[in-house]
Structure formats: structure tokens, C-alpha cells
């Protein structure tokens, strides 16, 4: 029983942080260009 007192808030907290992270990501435009991000890593930085 005492275990529940810890685990349930913990589970809810983790779930809520996931939800918050999703809201942030949506607001910050993380989903604007899903395929582009994977390709951009291949672009060399400008030499200059």
C-alpha cells in the first residue's frame, strides 16, 4: 500500500511531463519538418 503512495504520483508525474514535452514540441515547431531534420545532419557546416 505504501508503495502505491509513491508509485501512483510518480506514474502521473511522468505521464504529465510527457504531455508537457509534447505540448512544448508542438509549440516550438518540432514537427514542422520531420524528414528534413534527418538529412540536415549530413550537411557540412560552412567552411568559412
Amino acid at each position: 500500500m505504501t508503495g502505491l503512495a509513491l508509485l501512483i504520483p510518480l506514474a502521473l508525474f511522468l505521464g504529465l511531463s510527457g504531455l508537457a514535452a509534447f505540448f512544448w514540441a508542438m509549440k516550438a515547431g518540432q514537427f514542422e519538418d520531420m524528414d528534413g531534420a534527418a538529412l540536415r545532419i549530413l550537411i557540412d557546416e560552412d567552411p568559412s
Partner: protein, 739 residues
Amino acid sequence: MTAAALKAPLPGREGLGVGPAEGGRTSESERRRSARQPTPAPSLPGRGETERSVFAVPGIHCAGCIAKIERGLAELPGIAAARVNFSARQVAVEHVFGLDVPELQAAIAKLGFEAQPLRTAEADGVARSESRALLRATAVAGFAAMNVMLMSVSVWSGAGGATRDLFHLLSALIAIPTVAYSGRPFFRSAWSALRHGRTNMDVPISIGVTLVTGLSLFETLTGGEHAYFDGAVMLLFFLLTGRVLDSLMRDRARDGVTALLKQTAPGATLLVDGAAHWRAAGLLVPGDHILVAAGERLAADGIVEAGASAADLSLLTGESAPRRVGVGDKVLAGTLNLDAPLTVRVTAAGPDTAIADLARLMEEAGQGRSRYVRIADRAARLYAPAVHTLAASSFVVWLLMGAGWHQALLIAAAVLIITCPCALGLAVPAAQIVTAGALMRAGVLVKDGSALERLAEADRALFDKTGTLTLGRPAPELAGVPEEARPVLLALARASRHPLSRAIAAALEGTCAASVSGLTEEPGFGMRGTMAGIPVSLGRPASAAGMAAELRIGALAFPVRFEDALRPAATATVVRLAALGVESSIASGDRAEAVAPVARALGLTAQTGMHPEDKLDAIARLAAAGHKVLMVGDGLNDGPALAAGHVSMAPASASDVGQNAADAVFLGDSLAPVAIAVSAARRTMRVVRQNFAIAILYNAVAVPLALLGLVTPLIAAAAMSGSSIIVVANALRLRSAAR
């Protein structure tokens, strides 16, 4: 690459809000003027404010392309930044006002990519925030569903007594705010339907969810055995997923195709006693004299009083071959004046112009289509009353059989939850979005799900000729020009912005240009210059028939003829459409002699010399004969027909109006996407019908259980997710639909 963007020779956003420019003109009017007049690449660092233009660039396919476009554009004067969106195959360019769209398009073309301008409509923001709100509601419902399920699984595994009550209470604490937040789209839609005396799919959903939540709360507070919070929340989650898919699909298409009648000039330079004033288009009245500079669009219909020039009517007709206009000729609003200034006496302005007439015609023609009822709504019309009756009668029957009101209500709620069109809500959007995605990869942007439904029903196709069956741009026939004269031709052609010259320059890509000096463009004739002392020219031949030009080197003359080639795969498309049971024919505004070769080549019957009204009539006649007409066209003159057709498609090269009126836009030169879209739409409808069958089968099994009062929360949850997953999996088969 952000570094590259920052290095651009422009202050970018810092320029925003800079005060009045010199001469006491306000920054606002300065901005508007320079935005409208396509002056050659003005890089005015320090004074420039930036605006955003978005282009569709279907040719982007690797990291190299991204780097090439972003760096290449950022180096140009006047461009602050360029950002590629790879998923959407789009480039957003941040640039100074005054750099106009064709120039940016040319800049991208110079980097080796074909670009189509897209409008960054502010109205887009509304739709986008709608699907964002839906997405947020879905995320909340998903979070709640997972956590409530966590509790429920413990209860089902045998938790009892105080633990069960605690878990039920916690579930209630999560579920009730979730229902209040995520259920809003359904409550709102159900309420507006009820207020108008109708019923839709959202009514049983709303009643079911509220009833179940309320009953479960009652159970929780009285320490009852079953609480259905997980069912209610999961139901919301699945249904919202369907809504999000539907809304995302509309957004994505809206990204691709948004335009309005914005192409008419916002105003004109008015001549009053020799002095020139800027006047907004709405304030022009018949009788005014306006000065139209080369490269400017006409703001009103009128008659040429002075000057001679070539006019680009592509906005109105979709036809790129310029037409000569001189004193006494009638010119229409929206026409682009190509090479010399004209003085025009206004005959009609504002709502009386030909372009505004067409817009009205289009609006009227489009009303028939808005009466189309989507398949999901048609299903709901049958389904919703059946569900209401079933739930209500189960409640009454159980009461009559002596069950308490509490138990009877619980069973009625179970019936509502079980019959709630979970799979039904997903059946249509899941299939349609998968197909739309597949079609997008094949180069067809479908505007919404209903377009796919109507496309599947098409059994007759009408094609416009110019720009639809043909490429709509002149291709030079260079056989008459010997190899050694081509460098001269290129040198002359590339110095001009005339469409025919551009076509020649494009065709001669790879040739090394000769050095020609003293290049001048003579309005109404063409280019002149000298090469090693010999006068050379490229211009209008003395006896001009059709589209032609003549290259002169000294005394030698070489004719260059132009023709409008058929789109690639045009014949194959017509054949494939015929195999699909869609009979095609041509409806063209062009003369019979011009249409005949195309009709012969494709083996189609043709109607020629048709006005926009005639095309409407033709469609109305076919519709009266019971045909569902697929209209494929591109010009503004096709606008009403595109709006009137049961479904319509336009090439990406079409006028804005054409793209706006069409249900689907296909990219690239090939005509093949038309047949691909029809066959993909039919496959989609087959899958949708299968999905309906699955949903009905599921109900046939689950409803008797619910009526008998055997449905526990566990059974409800399993049945609901099981049927949804099957429906989505079935829809995923459509990923290869666009073939």
C-alpha cells in the same frame, strides 16, 4: 546553415518598423509600391523590411539539395534567409519587399530546381490552430487513457475493497477534466446539430461519453463495482485521432494550394492632366486614364489609347503566348503588360471587370458541390438514430423486466459506448489520409477527403486543351537554325524577359553564348545587337503566323517556330482513364484548327470555341444525364467549370484561380497523375467500405452482449481498441495506392 542565413547582406528583421523613407512618403506606401512594381532586384540594405514567400519545390530529394538551395538563396542580395521544409518539399524565403515572386522563382530555377510559388495566406492560421487544438485534445486524451488504463488493469486483475475505490477515484480525477477538455469538439458539434434540429455522429458520442462518465462517477462515489472511465476516455482518444487525421489532411493540402483573386493589381497610376497619381483599384472609375508600365498588371478593364505592347493573358486564359495589343484594343484586368508602357482608358473597374464576373460565376458554380454529403455523414444519418433507439429501448426493456433504474441506465450506457462509432469514426479518415499521403508522393495534392470520395465517383472527364493536355508553354522548333548560329540566338534570347525568348534560352541550355554587343530591346519587335560588326537581331518575323520568331545575322534569316507540346503520358492517361470506365473529351476555348491536332493525337472528341458559360452548360448537361464529371483545366476561364464539375483537377502550372477552384492539383509536366488519382480514389473507397463492413461486423457481435448487460469495462475496452486497430491496419494497405 543558420550561419549561412545570418551572413546574408541584409539586416533582416532589424529593418522592421523603420520610419518614413525620404521624401516624406510613409513607409507603408513605399512598401506597397515597391512590392507591386517588379523593379529589378532592389537591394536596399538598411531600408528593407522583409516578407516571406513560400515555394513548392518538388525536386528536393537529398541533403545536398537542401544545402544548395539554402546557401544559394542566402547569398543573393535582398534575401535574408531561406529555409527548406523537406517533408513538405517547400522553401520559405525571407526577403525584402520588392523582390517579386517571379524573380525568386528564377533564382531557384538558376540553382537547378523547378519552383511553384505558394501563397502564405494569413487565413491559414485559423485552420492550423484548429488542427492544433484537436492535436492537443488528442494528446490529453491519450495521456488520460494510458493512466486510467493503468488503474483499470489493476482493478480487473482483482484489486478490491479500498484499493478499488481509491483507483476508481483516481481514474475519476483524471478522466473528468479530460472529458471536459478533449470532449469539447464533439460537444460543440453535437450541440450545433441539435440546435438546428438535426442529428449527427457527435450526438450519440456526446450523450454516451457524458452518460458513462456521470454514471461511473456515481458508481465511484457509492463504492460500486464497475467504473467505465477507461472506456469513455479511450473512446475520445480514438475518435479524436480520426478527427486529427482528417484535419491534418486538409491542412497539408492547404499548404500546397491557397490562392485568391489577388493577382489583379491593387491599383494603377492615374493620369490627370499629365500628372501621375497612384490610385487604388477600387477607386478607379470608367473614363479614367491609367498608365500601365511594362511589367505591370492592369487593375481594370479598358481600351488602349496610346502605345503598343504585348500582353500576357496567362492569368485569364492559362495561355502563355503573349498577344499583341495596340491602340483601340480591349485589355482586361489581371493582364500583364510585357514590353512597353500603355495608356489605357478604363471601361470597367472593380466588381464590373471580366475577372470579377468570372469570380462570381465560379462562386455560383461551386454551390452545387457544397451540397455533396460525405460518406461518413451519410453513414451517420442511418447510424445515429439506430443507436439512439437501441440504447433507449434497452433502457425501457430492462426497466420493464424489473431491473432497477440504475442497472437499466448502466446497460443503456454500455450500449452507447459499445456502439459508439469508434471504428466508424476512423474508417474514413484513416483510409483517406494514407491515400492522400501516397498521392502526394506521386505529385498530386488532394485538398480534402471529400475530393477523394468524389474523385472515385467520376465517370466522365472533360479536359481543357491549352496548359492541361498540352504543356501550355511554347517550345521552340530549332531545326531551322544551324548549329553555328545557335550561340548568337542564345545571346540574344537570354537578354530578354519575353516568354518566347525565355523558351529559346531554356531550350539552348548547354550552348555557349556568342558575344553580342550593344544589346537593345525594341518594344514590339525584339532584340537587336551587333556581333563582330554584323547587325544581329531576334524578333517578330514580317509575316507572322502563329507563334514564331526570326533570327537575323546580317542578311541571313532563320525562322524559329514555336509549338505547344502535349504533356508527357497524355495518351497513356486517356487510355488508362478509359480502362477505368471514365470517358474523356476535350472542352476548349481555342479555335477548332488549334484543337484538332491534339484531339487527333489523343483520339478524343472535342468541343471548341467554348466560353466559360459554355463549359458550365456542357457540365450541366452531362450531370443532367447522370454523369459525374471530372473537370481538368488550368486557366481562369476554366475556373467556373472547375468549380461546377463533380470533382476537378488542375496542373500546378495553372492560374491561381484554377488551382483554387480545383479539388486536386498535380505537380510536374506529366498528365499521368490524373489517372493515378482516379484509380487511387477508387481503391480508397473500396477500403472505406471494407472498414464499414468490419465496424458493422463488430457491432453485430458486441451489441447483443451489451443488450444482455454482459459488457464489463474490460470487454468494452478490448472490443473498442481491437476494432480500431483492425480498421487502421486495413487503411495502411493503401500506402501503395498511388500507382
